[in-house]
């Protein structure tokens, strides 16, 4: 018999908020993060897109990340730690320090063996890899220039070698660092998995955690996604830029990112982000008096088998994924009150997604796209959007779909926050490669 699974804690770090409440308040107020990309990236190439969503300033010391850890962990892992710590604290499971030297914690009342970690990431420690590769390649160049009596300063704009090749280069770049470090830090010894499914990673990670708890493999889990893609040379940004997926220039950068709008031009690249949810089997959550935010009813995945970089215009497998998620949840399309869409602001995605939603759900459910506020946080996106979905159910309100003036389809897009009767909701993610994933969430009913 399947067991019920509830969300009892949420932690978020996003471009428009360094904590869940800051992120939520800014989202409700339609405050997003849009800046020009770092000036020195232009030394390497002339990008078509010049905008990104940078992260807010974060006081890492104040949030328990030591200077030593900042040298030895990839930023995506650090963001995951921050959101995991916050999620645990919000779930009334504050981590207790057990090893000061190693900065390790335990969680009282939680069985480490029966708790899992399921983290999604698109490209893991790519920024750390790029940084160390920069040292590896460019340090000899600097030495050579000095030998030839040329000043490295003459070339410093492009020959920008980091000071050291980091001894932790491998462990920083491994995609599984994020889930492994969370397990080590919080003494969680159950199933520990890394989901690398590009932009659907976060949704799939939460889905896999849900399945594990539902089927009895674990009683609880930390699940979510983390990403950090700002390497010092802008190479990751260039990868998306050259694929012509990114938002184009416009007179007012604040309006460039506009999911589901007819004038959309591409997605807004985000520096990074993370969201971690505490999922628990219902009776465990009730026994310890946990704050129940929402219940996860189902998870479904399908695969396009179509193209490594393009969404299948027929949306056949997206449609199958949605119907599968509804069937598993025993929920009819008309019962879905709110959909947190993938909504990237790319020409193809938004049109295909809007048409698919309309064909299954009609025009009744409320729809928004959190990426209109955060930009695209790749492997963290699905987790951040699941957090928004859960909070929208719990708080009976949600954020607007920012910059949406002329919708591609006449759906019920949220134009301004208000009190909404959101009881059952759906969130979905699609990814490079062809991965589709969705989750049905509902308000908790005893």
């Amino acid at each position: 018999m399947k067991r019920r699974v509830v969300i009892t804690g949420i932690g978020v770090v996003a471009p428009n908020g360094a904590t869940t409440e800051e992120f939520w308040d800014n989202s409700i107020a339609a405050r997003s993060s849009v800046q020009h990309i770092p000036e020195h990236w232009l030394n390497y190439w002339q990008p078509q897109s010049r905008l990104w969503a940078s992260l807010p300033t974060i006081d890492f010391d104040a949030r328990g990340i030591t200077r030593i850890e900042r040298m030895q962990l990839d930023k995506s892992t650090i963001l995951a730690i921050l959101s995991a710590q916050e999620a645990l604290t919000n779930a009334r499971l504050p981590p207790k320090l057990t090893d000061e030297k190693k900065n390790l914690f335990s969680i009282e009342g939680f069985s480490g063996d029966r708790t899992g970690i399921f983290m999604g990431t698109g490209i893991g420690g790519i920024s750390s890899f790029a940084q160390n590769e920069g040292n590896h390649i460019l340090s000899p160049c600097s030495t050579l220039l000095q030998k030839k009596s040329l000043s490295p300063n003459d070339f410093s704009e492009v020959v920008h070698a980091p000071a050291r090749f980091n001894p932790f280069a491998v462990s920083m770049a491994m995609p599984n660092s994020c889930s492994a470090i969370l397990g080590i830090r919080f003494s969680i010894t159950g199933p520990n998995r890394t989901l690398c499914n590009a932009c659907a990673s976060g949704t799939m990670a939460i889905g896999q955690a849900f399945e594990a708890i539902s089927h009895g493999t674990a009683d609880a889990a930390l699940a979510g996604g983390a990403e950090y893609v700002a390497d010092d040379y802008g190479g990751v940004f260039r990868g998306f830029d050259v694929a012509k997926t990114l938002v184009k220039q416009c007179a007012d950068p604040q309006t460039a990112n506009r999911p589901f709008d007819k004038k959309r031009s591409g997605f807004l690249f985000a520096e990074g982000g993370s969201a971690v949810l505490v999922l628990e089997e219902l009776s465990q959550a009730k026994d310890r008096g946990a704050p129940i935010i929402a219940e996860v009813l189902s998870h479904a995945e399908t695969f396009d088998a179509h193209s490594i970089m393009s969404i299948d215009a027929s949306a056949k497998q997206i449609r199958r994924m949605i119907l599968l998620a509804l069937e598993k949840a025993n929920v009819l399309p008309r019962e879905i009150d709110y959909i947190n869409a993938h909504g990237t602001s790319t020409e193809q995605n938004d049109e295909i997604e809007a048409n698919t939603i309309e064909s299954i759900f009609g025009t009744r459910p409320l729809i928004n796209a959190t990426k209109s506020l955060t930009g695209h946080t790749i492997g963290a996106a699905g987790a951040i959007e699941t957090a928004v979905t859960a909070l929208s159910i719990a708080r009976k309100t949600t954020h607007a779909c920012k910059n949406l003036d002329e919708p591609v389809r006449p759906l019920s897009f949220v134009t301004k926050p208000a009190m909404f009767d959101i009881r059952t909701a759906f969130t979905q993610s699609f990814a490079f490669g062809g991965h589709n994933a969705g989750l049905v969430l509902r308000e908790y009913r005893a």
Binding site: T66, R67, I68, M71, Q72, E100, K101, A163, R164, N166, P167, F168
Partner: protein
């Protein structure tokens, strides 16, 4: 290596880094303290310590040099010698 005095201005800074990385009390750290044998550093701690020293003193420490830095005094003497070399240029 140059001789090292406890009142050396770099000594205090070095001890602070050692304490930060190895989580030992300052009163336990002496010039003659052996980083592995006396202060309990394992191989990972040693790597962390070297990275941290590089970061704080802005001095690269080569793998060859790292092998010679066994005591706190060795570290202070090395940093001192590097600073003196830079000053002499």
């Amino acid at each position: 290596m140059d001789s090292v005095q406890v009142q050396d201005p770099l000594y205090e800074k070095t001890v602070a880094v050692v304490c930060e990385v190895l989580k030992v009390k300052p009163e336990l750290v002496k010039l003659e303290s052996h980083i592995k044998n006396d202060l309990g550093a394992d191989s990972l701690d040693t790597v962390s310590l070297l990275m941290s020293l590089e970061d704080v003193f802005k001095e690269p420490i080569s793998d060859e040099t790292a092998l010679t830095l066994e005591t706190v005094g060795d570290v202070v003497a090395f940093i001192n010698s590097r600073k003196n070399q830079v000053a002499a240029v």
